[in-house]
């Protein structure tokens, strides 16, 4: 769990489907539904394995949640009582099955009563229902992710395209230096600087805070503007580089030459032909990034004091709070699995060659 990295973009190596595939035609839409069904089943198995691994790994760590719950001075009988209350006196496998069953049919607790499905249990620390806690925090993280994603996708694509079209020119060089810097800075560094200069010193921006979108969209956006931009800075670099290199490749493709040879204007060659092929790898890394960010942007949330899933999951680790830990891991893993499926479906829309297989 602790190994989950947050807001650090990976080196983008993802490549879309490549090479021609031949085969019978007209399978397009009919093939989509079985594909999604198959992928969803696969996703369920993946999540089950992740949950099991997380669960049993938790008990491999020498921390004792019962002792933590019991308090500083803890006689053996109270410790036993605490252990029983938390359900930790059951065999491990039975505990896991009970947790798993709770998601689908709910769960009954001696002390806390019935927990309706989908039940992720109650926090060891504050006895709050985990599912509700996550639902409470999710909008913060989703808002942070969506805003930042829009910023880094738009800027990354735009600068990447410009750099590719101005290969070797000043604009290209500026873009590559800027993305190198952007990729190298840390959120807690520029985030803190930005907070200091833009918020506390000069009051140009307001202090970052989360206000629900449904209540006031403008307040929602202005409250999150700074975290969006700061989070986007380190991601944009990756998209710029990826867009630039793929675009350069695409521009030298034979079919781009054909498009020019048949008299298409420069703009339409770029936007209609070259960009299409550039989208595939971009969507690949975009899907992974979205999934990772929904799992929680720990550093960003911490830097700007936002109560999102990232901080919740860190708290769960520190507190040895098994139910909360399982809940946050499940959401994070679920997000990644979900966006992976979305990306695969999108491939088919972008590239007709994928629709067949």
């Amino acid at each position: 769990m602790a190994s989950r990295k947050d807001d650090t973009p990976r080196e983008a190596t993802a490549k879309g489907p490549s090479g021609p595939r031949s085969g019978p035609s007209h399978l397009g839409k009919q093939a989509m539904l079985p594909f999604i069904t198959r992928r969803t089943l696969g996703a369920a198995v993946t999540l089950l394995i992740i949950a099991a691994v997380t669960f049993f790994l938790f008990f491999a760590v020498p921390a004792d949640p019962a002792r933590l719950a019991c308090g500083k001075v803890c006689p053996p009988d109270l410790l036993e009582q605490a252990r029983h209350n938390l359900g930790l006196d059951q065999p491990l496998f039975a505990q896991f099955v009970a947790w798993l069953a709770g998601i689908f049919v709910g769960r009954d607790y001696e002390s806390l009563g019935h927990c309706p499905a989908p039940c992720l249990g109650y926090s060891f620390v504050n006895r709050e229902p985990v599912f509700e806690t996550i639902l409470d925090r999710l909008p913060v993280t989703v808002s942070l992710t969506i805003g930042a994603a829009v910023v880094f996708l738009v800027f990354g694509l735009a600068t990447g395209i410009v750099a590719a079209l101005r290969q070797g020119k000043p604009l290209d060089k500026i873009a590559s230096v800027a993305s190198l810097i952007g990729a190298s800075v840390q959120i807690y560094f520029i985030g803190t600087l930005a907070l200091y200069f833009l918020v506390y010193q000069n009051q140009i921006l307001q202090r970052p805070q989360y206000l629900p979108f449904t209540e006031n969209p403008i307040a929602w956006a202005s409250g999150l503007a700074l975290p969006w931009v700061v989070l986007a800075i380190i991601f944009t670099a990756n998209y710029t580089r990826m867009t630039r290199s793929t675009m350069v490749e695409q521009l030298s493709e034979d079919y781009v030459r054909t498009a020019r040879a048949k008299g298409m204007s420069g703009r339409s060659v770029v936007m209609r032909f070259a960009l299409r092929g550039t989208l595939t790898p971009i969507i690949t890394i975009f899907g992974v990034d979205l999934g990772t960010l929904i799992g929680g942007a720990i550093i960003t949330e911490t830097t700007f004091g936002l109560q999102g899933l990232g901080r919740l999951s860190i708290k769960a680790v520190w507190d040895s709070d098994l139910p909360l830990l399982m809940g946050t891991v499940l959401v994070a893993a679920g997000a990644i699995v979900f966006f992976n499926i979305v990306v695969d479906v999108l491939y088919a829309f972008i590239d007709p060659r994928v629709r067949l297989s």
């Binding site: 040879a261 048949k262 420069g266 092929g277 590239d351 060659r353």
Partner: protein, 333 residues
């Protein structure tokens, strides 16, 4: 004699690369008459494709220097504005490429790719362009054109893709079609079909064709005139009959000797042209072919190494070699 439809004079194309200046085309001149086919033959890197991409103005002006004259129907194309060239491409001059799979966009249907050229140059409506695309697919012999028009290139076979490519190139009734090794990527059986198709369409539409190939067999069947290129220059030029029956340049002999023939006895060895094509950054002085030439002793090694032979005579069957006509006949037997 009227002015030729396409006339290229002293064309020079240099590319500026990190390793130095590549002299891809060096003082090339040729003509193409209306309704005829010129075959341009040569090894890889002899400047065949570069020449023809220059006709369409498809080189990046920042990395290349182009000089000379390219006159199409009297209009000078070198230095023409971008909009002039965009109006010309796909309309008056069209091009088909070697590999139809990579040359067609994998993301758009065949019909879309054909009709967009038509719409671009004629301003036709979507429906008109689609009808025209189906008509063109019919003409190039695609079965069930009404349904295949909505297929993607990967759903076509290699030969059908090249047919589609030809349909796309001819949709605006171009005056000049440049075919850059149109059959190289295809099966032998399909090659013949594609060449026949080009010939038929030429008869129907009166299109001039420049056929770039390294296959003299293709030239023999399809072209009227031949231009043999070596290291960015023309080394021999003439009608197909002249060049194939009485080839005069040692390089042309080499090309012919390295070509397998079904009529030859089985135990006859193919004789490849020895050596490798020269670097176009450091082109050999004198005759660029001299390091690979077997007849330098006959022609005079000093001359071959120091002076560049010019194509002569200026009209008809000409070649760029210091051997005398009698010597050439003697050597070729």
């Amino acid at each position: 004699m009227s002015t030729p439809f396409l006339s290229v004079r002293d064309l020079t194309v240099d590319f500026h690369t990190e390793d130095g200046v590549v002299h891809a085309v060096d003082g090339l001149s040729f003509d193409v008459e209306k309704g005829t086919t010129l075959g341009i033959v040569g090894e890889s890197g002899s400047g065949k494709s570069v020449t023809n991409l220059t006709v369409l103005g498809l080189h990046n002006p920042e990395t290349s220097t182009i000089s000379g004259e390219i006159r199409l129907d009297g209009e000078e194309l070198i230095g023409a504005s971008r909009s002039t060239m965009e109006k010309l491409r796909g309309n008056k001059v069209a091009m088909i490429f070697q590999d139809p799979l990579t040359s067609l966009s994998p993301y758009h249907t065949i019909g879309k790719q054909i009709s967009e050229v038509y719409r671009k140059h004629t301003g036709a409506s979507r429906a008109e362009a689609r009808a025209r695309a189906i008509e063109m697919l019919t003409r190039v012999g695609i079965p069930q054109p009404k349904t295949r028009v909505d297929d993607y290139p990967h759903q076509f076979s290699g030969g059908m893709r090249q047919r589609a490519m030809i349909a796309m190139a001819l949709v605006c009734d171009p005056d000049l079609l440049i075919a850059d090794e149109p059959t190289t990527a295809l099966d032998v059986t399909v090659q013949a079909q594609i060449l026949d198709l080009l010939k038929d369409l030429q008869d129907q539409m009166g299109t001039s064709i420049i056929l770039i190939t390294h296959d003299l067999g293709v030239v023999a069947n399809t072209a009227h005139e031949v231009l043999v290129m070596y290291a960015g220059r023309a080394v021999e030029r003439g009608s197909v009959k002249e060049v194939l029956r009485e080839p005069r340049h040692p390089y042309t002999w080499g090309l012919l000797a390295s070509m397998p023939r079904l009529s030859a006895p089985v135990d006859v060895q193919l004789r490849p042209v020895r050596g490798t094509p020269p670097s176009l950054i450091n082109v050999p002085t004198g005759c660029p072919f001299h390091p690979r030439c077997d007849f330098m002793e006959v022609a005079g090694p000093e001359l071959c190494r120091s002076e560049r032979p010019e194509l002569s005579p200026h009209r008809g069957h000409g070649d760029a070699c210091y051997l005398t006509l009698a010597q050439k006949r003697e050597i070729h037997k």
